[in-house]
Symmetry: C2
């Protein structure tokens, strides 16, 4: 445990965040400017995220591959919008050994170009389609300002890339994968994210449209956490990816891509954690239960071992803290590291057949008799923690969700407290730009399935076309 105190969340949110990251040993900056080291506690969360998402992807028929990390400049440049979008952020390899390269190579900022290059040689007929690929890898974007997990030059992600013989199938895939991200946020991360479509200005470079999953942090700032892009035939035309369709005619194939990154770890922290350190929903916690024996009586240790074994045998990740630290120190350490449930077993309590459970989320202590069925008791408690963390996050999101009917109202809201701001929009980029002047507020997403809240655009007062949710972002 890091002994330095954690800044209070309500005092200085940014400092609180980096304090939690440091105190829970999640990641650290390295000698490599803007690049992070993901430490064991942080990496274990990423491994659990990977394992849950990867199973879901495979259930839906996707297979993993590995594309090269370097992209020749001419290959990258074939799709103009993409390269324009990423050009300022590309890291270039220009030397191999002692030789200058004839053509410089980009460290992948994303891999659409490489997948297209591969498809080109491996797809000839509709019988070869669809191909449903994914890869887990690192990417580099040469950011100027960086923050642990949220924005760093190197980050880790998964990028799904699929190719289809029809528009319908590709669009269905785009929507399906957004549903996966939404499910993952709501059910696993206990984050009540919202989903919808990006405006033209905010969509991915080269996409026909982009679906997005947006989470709201405790401080009311939004975090884009997972996007799914429909490319139509754009990339296939740029990279000449053709196939013989059912009518025996050559056609360009339809593509999608979708990704989510290590920044979700930052989201987890900023939605759930508190002044005592990390708080993790049980479904994503690498270690769900810590058992702390107080004293070293045989009775205490026997019960600790018995519980530990039973829990681990029933798919609950549990461990015993056997270290020679004091019980108080162990409690604090388990707390700062975000272990969802702590079981304290002391010899004095045991004489009265009592043990104590401490919930990390509410910090509530519950005394129980040793007669309970430990597995079903802990399962229930973990379920309860998971759902009450979701509920709390939802209440916070609702509290920080506002409505604005004109620019003045929007400004007033943002001056007081950022959040998700519902406001109607005419569809004009000038109005988007005007809103951005208020503290950099951007459209998070369009969700026209929501009821209209006005007839007129919040910025210009002309006829409104879309129900947009706006907000300040990380």
């Amino acid at each position: 445990m890091n002994n330095k105190a954690i800044t209070k969340r309500d005092e200085d949110f940014a400092k609180w965040y980096t304090d939690v990251v440091r105190a829970a040993h999640l990641c650290d900056y390295s000698s490599v400017k803007g690049c992070m080291v993901i430490e064991p506690n942080g990496y274990a969360i990423w491994e659990k995220m990977q394992s849950i998402l990867d199973s879901k992807f495979k259930e839906l028929g996707h297979v993993n591959v590995a594309m090269p990390v370097l992209i020749p400049e001419n290959l990258l440049k074939k799709e103009g919008e993409l390269v324009n979008g990423f050009a300022p952020e590309v890291a270039w390899v220009t030397m191999g050994g002692k030789k200058e390269l004839e053509e410089r190579l980009a460290f992948r900022p994303t891999s659409e170009t490489l997948f297209c290059d591969y498809y080109k040689d491996h797809i000839s007929s509709y019988r070869d389609l669809p191909k449903l690929y994914n890869q887990w890898c690192n990417v580099i974007r040469w950011e100027k300002e960086t923050r642990p997990f949220l924005r760093s030059r190197e980050f880790w992600w998964q990028e799904g890339h699929t190719i289809h013989s029809t528009k319908e199938e590709a669009e269905k895939e785009t929507k399906q994968m957004m549903e996966v991200y939404k499910w993952f946020h709501h059910e696993i991360l206990a984050i009540p994210s919202i989903t919808g479509i990006k405006t033209e200005k905010e969509k991915f470079a080269g996409a026909e449209y982009t679906l997005t999953n947006e989470a709201l942090m405790y401080n009311g700032v939004a975090l884009q956490s997972g996007t799914s892009h429909y490319f139509g035939q754009k990339f296939s035309k740029a990279y000449d990816v053709k196939f013989l369709n059912k009518d025996n005619k050559l056609d360009y194939a339809y593509q999608t891509s979708w990704g989510t990154t290590t920044r979700m770890i930052g989201g987890l922290i900023m939605v759930h954690s508190d002044d005592f350190g990390l708080v993790l929903p049980p479904k994503i916690a690498p270690k769900q239960v810590v058992i702390i024996p107080i004293g070293d009586d045989n009775e205490v240790l026997d019960l600790a071992n018995k519980y530990n074994e039973e829990l681990n045998n029933n798919n609950i990740t549990s461990y015993i803290d056997y270290s020679d630290k004091s019980p108080g120190f162990k409690f604090a350490e388990a707390e700062v590291n975000g272990i969802p449930l702590r079981i304290e077993i002391g010899s004095r309590d045991l004489k009265e057949n009592k043990i104590t459970f401490a919930r990390r989320d509410t910090r509530e202590k519950i005394v129980e008799t040793t007669n309970i069925d430990i597995v079903s008791y802990v399962n229930n408690l973990l379920d309860n923690i998971q759902s009450s963390m979701y509920k709390k996050a939802l209440e916070r999101r609702d509290k920080l969700t506002f409505e604005a009917h004109n620019l003045k109202e929007m400004e007033d809201i943002l001056n007081k407290q950022p959040g998700f701001i519902h406001a109607m929009w005419c569809g004009n980029e000038e109005c988007e730009a005007k809103i951005k002047e208020i503290k950099g507020c951007k459209s998070r997403l369009i969700d026209d399935s929501l009821d209209s809240i006005d007839d007129k655009c919040v910025a210009c007062g002309r006829d409104a076309k879309h129900h947009v949710i706006w907000g300040i972002q990380y």
Copy 2:
């Protein structure tokens, strides 16, 4: 399935190898010179390798982390031997966005330097030790000649890095991890590898000594598959990694590293595969059983479904080939892809209560009645395949293991048939160099636990010090 024929293994081994890689869709070269695309069939093998090794590493107390992919030049250069060893092979990032970098950054060829840089700030006392880290990642070495899986500019690996307060503990770790690689080769990959210590000339740049795991391919060429390095205090001195020991004195910490790579996939192919394509030991095969229904009678499909479900419920990876291809095509496809066991269910056979099993390793067909207990029958058969593949590989290794007592004998052996050549050595690098003149033959490893086969050095005739196994390598 790729319809192009596979070259015969005994006709042209190198061509046979690339034919198998292509026909089984394991990997492909990309537009990025010297970099490969690992295709789904190849990546699934890598995922299974990762999953088995990762569990074993964790069982032994290791935790995963992620270090940056880029290393500032000055950091890389602190340990002179390491940088000299890798300098000709480093890819350099010199530009970020449109700006030239003030200091160029190496794409990691290996990460000792980054781990040292991290240890330096995170270790102060013996109480912080040991740290047992591992990472799964990609590395780049700017090779001139490349071959699928065996040698490519980018490859994927795990690199374990550990740091200890005593020499004894670090040396124990070095040995333990070599035992893990040996176990993995013998038990999982069915490859009867040999292990020992590298000569000074062949050890890892910067190591005090290197333990190695060496496999022998079908053609008698050796493949280094996993090394474990003991660094002593070398890196700690170069990177100033000190800690307060139990006597309250500052001391340099003891380090190790150990790694194994995607080249093991190449080894798997070159040890076990045949003229009909890939052959995989069941323990590493991503899909162990394919069920092929012949015809679409309900009875046939019902039994296929029943078997498939029972097998998958009992930890045997099985799938049904429902595609509209002909049975013969399906058989050939399962064969080229190396599925260890094929179950053929046809309506005519079913009338006589018969089904057919086809082993991939021997291509033997076994007719059984439908009365068998499918799970235990298949489990037995898979065990049998695994052990008979190991036995066959061991027989091949023994057949290609020779003894040489002088240079003339060594030359004669290598002219006829490469293999593992046992020969005594005086310990002099000049003799090593002389042997290398014979077709590039190098010492694979020293194993002084073996009986002496001579008093004198195979090259110079002076007193021998070590029992060395020599061979030509990939």
